[in-house]
Subunit: 145 residues, 2 copies
Amino acid sequence: MTGSGYKTKQRDAILGFMIENKDRHVTVSQISEYLSKQGKHIGVTTIYRHLDKLLDNDLVRKYSLGPGECSCYQYAGSDMDCHEHFHLVCESCGKLFHLECEHLSELKGHILREHGFSVDPFKTVFYGLCSDCRDNEEKNKGETE
Amino acid sequence: MTGSGYKTKQRDAILGFMIENKDRHVTVSQISEYLSKQGKHIGVTTIYRHLDKLLDNDLVRKYSLGPGECSCYQYAGSDMDCHEHFHLVCESCGKLFHLECEHLSELKGHILREHGFSVDPFKTVFYGLCSDCRDNEEKNKGETE
DNA sequence: TTGCGTGCAAAGGTTTTGCATGGCA
DNA sequence: TGCCATGCAAAACCTTTGCACGCAA
């Protein structure tokens, strides 16, 4: 499954980049720009097509960081083991946090039992502010106001 | 605050449509198409601009139903009273559910205390399947396979 | 009359598609 | 060799912006 398609240098470069950055989500333009700096010019068309294939094989996941924002992709291969946890995205710094916590697994069961709604942890993203950005905001408030 | 700006027939039509459909989220093209059928041709530019104003006044909220999907808007006026609860969106039928439950309010506190992350209930949307669509899917499975 | 509201056209950005060429097996 | 992969250009799509005209106050 993983090895579907031909082995090309573009495929290796894109998959390699996704694995290197498995701890964060990246956009197509970020992939393109980074690979350009490495001397690897790969058309965005190719990047989109590879990401689509990886998506079909569940090797990456696709997120939206909000309306109007471009799509974000993140590696999610079998070694990532991301079944049953949720994701937090900081609206200020854009960082992604994996929230593995039994309180949250319980939440999924609770919503299903009590509210009849089956939550999909893959697609559900919590938006808010991480602790670093909250600290920064409070600093800025103190300085400007 | 609510009455900011001139009172025009376009404004009335758009705000009226949003209030009529307060129980679901709609896209700009849905608004445009529906009003066209009513004989009210309103340019999408105008719709976008009114929605932006309503957004500033917290009279509507803007959602993303996924990467690549266009933005969805939903009325959220003061009579909606949506402070501290979360929203569930069914990926199949697009219906929106308001989830008012102390288990969820607790969740916000839990993530803040234990994980240092301040969740914004306005922007956070749970995606999944509602009970009706789950039933339909099971029926379809039984018929086709 | 003043100034915001409107809508057409055009521009901006992201993503997709067509097509000829290139490269893997 | 056959077929998929690639990348350019163009299209499609959503959204924003510029500008001239219209309309509310």
